[in-house]
Structures are given as structure tokens and as C-alpha cells.
């Protein structure tokens, strides 16, 4: 029977910082972030790809960090919730919007929701409330009934009348 006697060296960047880890192949990216790098902001809610609590951004795209092995992240640029705040430590627009709209209660799904929302806001698509709901439906939340989360994301991508914004709301895409 196989064991973890063999580990592989993997290099990637996390929130802009070069990292190198020595990991067994079976360690998922989520566990690498949490256990090897101490970045416990990324949460594990189901480990079978349904709940999305572990969502991080890899090379610009939102992915489930429980459905990707750390070894597959070699050379990738990874972004996690720990990298979202502004350089002075204050909350960015999406984080602030989550707080203002009460888009979080227990906070466990929040990092995944934020990373999903971050990737979405960057697409700068003209969004309406329904398409925001569809994106938010990627991840599960048990506390909020989703309303505060949808409100929070809409704040950044929807017109006040609920239709598409039509322009780049994030300014960083």
C-alpha cells in the first residue's frame, strides 16, 4: 500500500508572494494553503466540490481548492481571502459591501463567497440581480438566506434599478 513517503517540491505564488512547499501528491490545494502555509482563511465545508467554502482564485479564475491537488498548482498564481484587503489593511470595496449588507453571519462560507465575488466583479460584466444570484449559487451559505450576499455583490456590479451596470465597476480588470 502506498504511503506519503514521497513528497514533491512545488512552487507557486500566493497573494503575490513566491512560496515553495514540499507536499505529498494527495494533499489538496485547500489543505496546502491551510496546513502547509497557515492560511486558514480558506475553509473546507464539504471536500466534494459542492459548497464552495474553499473557493480561491487560480490564475484569475475561481476554483474549488478541494478539487485541485497542490501539485497541480505548480507555477500558478493563487489568490486567497488573506490577500483581499487594501495595502493599509482596510477592507476593499467588496469586503466593505459584505459588511454593509450583512452578507455574512457565522463567516465560514465568507472567504469562498468573497473569492467567487472577486473573480466575478473583475469580469466587469453588466450584471443584473438574477445573474448575480446564479453566480452566488455556486457556493452554499446556511446563515444568510443569500440575500445579504446577493445585495453585497450587486452593489458592485448592478445598477441601482437592478439592471446591468454596463461598465467596469471594479476598475482593476
Amino acid at each position: 500500500m502506498r504511503t506519503d513517503s514521497e513528497t514533491l517540491n512545488v512552487e507557486f505564488t500566493v497573494n503575490g508572494e513566491a512560496r515553495r512547499v514540499s507536499i505529498p501528491p494527495r494533499r489538496t490545494l485547500a489543505d496546502v494553503l491551510r496546513e502547509d502555509l497557515g492560511l486558514t482563511g480558506t475553509h473546507l465545508g464539504c471536500e466534494h466540490g459542492v459548497c464552495g467554502a474553499c473557493t480561491v482564485i487560480v490564475d484569475g479564475e475561481p476554483v474549488r481548492a478541494c478539487l485541485m491537488f497542490g501539485v497541480q498548482a505548480a507555477g500558478c498564481e493563487i489568490e486567497t481571502v488573506e490577500g483581499l484587503a487594501l495595502p493599509d489593511g482596510s477592507l476593499n470595496d467588496l469586503q466593505r459591501s459584505f459588511s454593509e449588507h450583512h452578507g455574512l453571519q457565522c463567516g465560514f462560507c465568507t472567504p469562498g463567497m468573497l473569492m467567487l465575488g472577486t473573480a466575478y466583479v473583475r469580469r466587469a460584466v453588466a450584471a443584473d440581480r438574477e445573474s448575480v444570484r446564479e453566480v452566488v449559487s455556486s457556493n452554499l451559505c446556511r446563515c444568510t438566506g443569500y440575500q445579504g450576499i446577493v445585495d453585497a455583490v450587486c452593489e458592485l456590479v448592478c445598477h441601482p434599478d437592478g439592471t446591468g451596470a454596463g461598465e467596469d465597476p471594479a476598475g482593476d480588470s
Binding site: 500500500m1 502506498r2 504511503t3 506519503d4 514521497e6 514533491l8 505529498p24 501528491p25 494527495r26 489538496t28 489543505d31 471536500e47 466534494h48 466540490g49 464552495g52 473557493t55 479564475e61 475561481p62 476554483v63 474549488r64 478541494c66 478539487l67 485541485m68 491537488f69 501539485v71 497541480q72 505548480a74 467567487l116 466575478y120 446564479e134 453566480v135 449559487s137 455556486s138 457556493n139
Partner: protein, 285 residues
């Protein structure tokens, strides 16, 4: 919920992948996007001894429309790439619609077209599209390449004709059609469909021609519905004809009963979804 141990091998090319698979033996598995495989591995329902990662292999990310009208899709094209493809692909307009139905966005960013076909989930959108469009699967193995039609490729739920040392590299969709549509029903957004239906036909002299109806969730693999196709073929595209064809689609089915739906319910969904998909084909008229 952590996977059993395995060894990891990054393939540099198709040939390298095939040779790795040959060396590593029957318990090795190919990983591309991993969106189904890793979930199964985490639950230890799949426990390959080795993974051959083909995600870095070049030359499998193409979508090429041949002069013949056939469409070649590289195995590593992601669902998201198909969903967001900036051009209309004549004859295969169903593709972005089907892509949008695959799981959720963070799944579509990594999951691949070829991976989905090779995984052979009976309710997979891509297996349904493959059957609808008479797909040819291009397979590379130690003895070179071979091609299989979908009827020979899919063997049953999660079973294909792929040998342990073979790699699916490309899927060729044939039978382009002017009009096509896909409908499915799932309890929640992004879930695997309980039943899915896809339809396609051309209009020749005001009548339907080359009609195809494919169904998912009603058998161990996605299937065609010949009785429904017969009703459509040569008829005018009217609601009455669509209703008849949809009834025909449901009539001869013996779908499975399980937690997600009884046979009776699945038959009803086939009728309803086929009719709605057919109605969708008139949406542009």
C-alpha cells in the same frame, strides 16, 4: 475526507502520457480538470495508485471547424472556454447553452470537455451532446490512434471503451444542424440533471430534416430517441408535431428508478423537456 495516497506524474505530451499510463499499470488514472475525479478520490470512492496529469499537455485546447462542417474539440478545452467562446459556431450553437448547464462557474473553469466525456456520467451534458452530434472520439494509445463512435465509446455509467493506457485527445462533433436546443431538469441550480433532452434538425424546404433527439438520465448512457426523430423527420416544425414527437420519445423508455426520480417521473420529464427543447428551436423565428 482525504484521498488515498497516489503517485503523481506530469505528462509533457500525449505520447508521454500514453507511455506513463502504460508504465503505471491499470490502477493509474488520467487527471485533467479533476472536477469529478478529485471529489470521488476525496471520498475514497476512486483510489487510483497514480495520477497522470495531462493538464499541461499542449495541443489539446483547440476548437476547429473543419470545411466538412465537423467540429474538432480538444480534450482539454474547459467548459468555461466553450461557454465564453466569442464566436458562433455554425451548426453547433448548442455548445455554449450546454456548457452553461455544467455545474457551477468554479467547476466550469477547470473541468474539461474531454474529461467529462471520459468520465461518462449518464447525465453529463457533454455525453448528451456527443450522442446528439454523433461524436467520434479520437483516442491515442501505445499502438497509435483510433477513433470510436459514441455508441461504441460509452459502455455504461462511468464506463467507456478507453483502455487503461489510452488517452482521449479529441472529440469530433459531426452532423451540424441549423437548429438545436437543450433542456434539463435538476432540483437545484448546477446539479446533475435528473433528465436532459437535446434536439437538433435542419430545415429543408420548410420541413425538418436530419432530426436528432438525445436523452440523458433515462438509461445507463445518453441515448437517441429514434421514434421521436421519426416523428420529426420530414414534418413541419409545429407545436403539434413537437408534442407527438415528445410523446414518442417517452413511450418506449424503461428509465431507472432511484432516489432522484422514479421511472414514471423520468418518462414525464422526457416528454416535457423534449417538447420544450423543440419549442426552443422556434424561439428565433
Amino acid at each position: 475526507m482525504k484521498p488515498a495516497a497516489f503517485t503523481y506524474h506530469r505528462a509533457e505530451s500525449v505520447e508521454h502520457a500514453v507511455s506513463l499510463l502504460g508504465e503505471l499499470g491499470e490502477d493509474a488514472k488520467v487527471i485533467a480538470g479533476g472536477q469529478s475525479l478529485v471529489a470521488l478520490m476525496n471520498m475514497r470512492l476512486a483510489r487510483p495508485s497514480a495520477l497522470v496529469d495531462v493538464s499541461g499537455v499542449r495541443g489539446l485546447h483547440h476548437m476547429v471547424l473543419e470545411p466538412s462542417g465537423e467540429l474538432r474539440i480538444g480534450a482539454l478545452v474547459t467548459h468555461a472556454a466553450i461557454e465564453d467562446y466569442p464566436l458562433v459556431i455554425p451548426g453547433f450553437e448548442i455548445l455554449p447553452k450546454a456548457a452553461a448547464l455544467v455545474g457551477h462557474w468554479p467547476i466550469r473553469t477547470r473541468g474539461t470537455f474531454g474529461g467529462s466525456i471520459a468520465h461518462a456520467d449518464p447525465t453529463s451534458e457533454w455525453c448528451l451532446v456527443a450522442v446528439l452530434h454523433g461524436a467520434r472520439m479520437v483516442i491515442e494509445g501505445p499502438g497509435g490512434s483510433r477513433t470510436l463512435g459514441s455508441e461504441d465509446f460509452f459502455g455504461g455509467p462511468f464506463m467507456t471503451d478507453l483502455g487503461h493506457d489510452e488517452l482521449l485527445t479529441e472529440v469530433v462533433l459531426t452532423e451540424p444542424r441549423e437548429r438545436s436546443a437543450i433542456r434539463e431538469f435538476a432540483r437545484r441550480a448546477g446539479d446533475f440533471a435528473i433528465v436532459s433532452a437535446a434536439v437538433a434538425y435542419d430545415i429543408v424546404n420548410g420541413r425538418m430534416s436530419g432530426a436528432r433527439v438525445a436523452l440523458g438520465g433515462v438509461a445507463s448512457v445518453a441515448v437517441r430517441a429514434p421514434a421521436a426523430e421519426a416523428e420529426l423527420e420530414g414534418a413541419e416544425a409545429t407545436p403539434e408535431v413537437f408534442a407527438r414527437a415528445s410523446r414518442a420519445a417517452a413511450e418506449d423508455l424503461q428509465p431507472p428508478s432511484d432516489l432522484h426520480g422514479s421511472a414514471d417521473y423520468r418518462r414525464r420529464l422526457v416528454r416535457v423537456l423534449t417538447e420544450r427543447a423543440l419549442a426552443d428551436t422556434l424561439a428565433g423565428d
